[in-house]
Symmetry: C2
Subunit: 105 residues, 2 copies
């Protein structure tokens, strides 16, 4: 895997790709955890019950859809929610999916 | 197919099922067309480029997720968007997906 992964620009955000990323409950949980803390989280520090290789796949799908930005700090791959950029292109979408009500359903 | 199809109650709405329904572009288009007209639309009157049997499947998925309500008028199966009920459970979700900006992406 390359050291600095590529990220789509805001102009490349695509609703179909974003929904395909968010339809998976593990990926939705990753987004919700980033949204709840409001801080970067290392790949290994999420509360998700999947193998490391499966998690790596989920992070890749989220990154390629524009939902997260990844960067290294030492040997840790850190994840940032691209909340402002996503809200700019699809206003209300992440709000709707991260309400306690939505997460409880 | 039974004459009066079953519909989930609001208390049964499930985010995973709703997102699985909305991740499909044809189903999203059906929802958007119902939202845009604000009126019931017969199954045969939607602007969708799929076969009748495929369309029937899409309507079933939307109905079972709680996104549409179906009823007969004569021999026509009519579709109603369950907008108010969906907004009550997942506020902002349909708004986010039916903006012109979202549909253009």
């Amino acid at each position: 895997m390359e050291r600095t992964p590529s990220h789509p620009q805001v102009s490349q955000f695509n609703l179909q790709q974003v929904l395909e990323a968010l339809v998976d409950p593990v990926r939705r949980s990753i987004v919700a955890q980033l949204d709840a803390t409001g801080e970067d989280i290392a790949c290994g520090a999420f509360d998700i019950a999947v193998s490391k290789s499966t998690a790596t796949h989920h992070f890749k799908v989220l990154r390629e859809a524009g939902l997260i930005r990844q960067h290294y700090v030492g040997t840790s791959r850190m994840n940032t929610l691209r909340r402002t950029e996503m809200d700019e292109v699809f206003p209300g979408l992440l709000d709707a999916l991260t309400t306690p009500q939505a997460q409880g359903r």
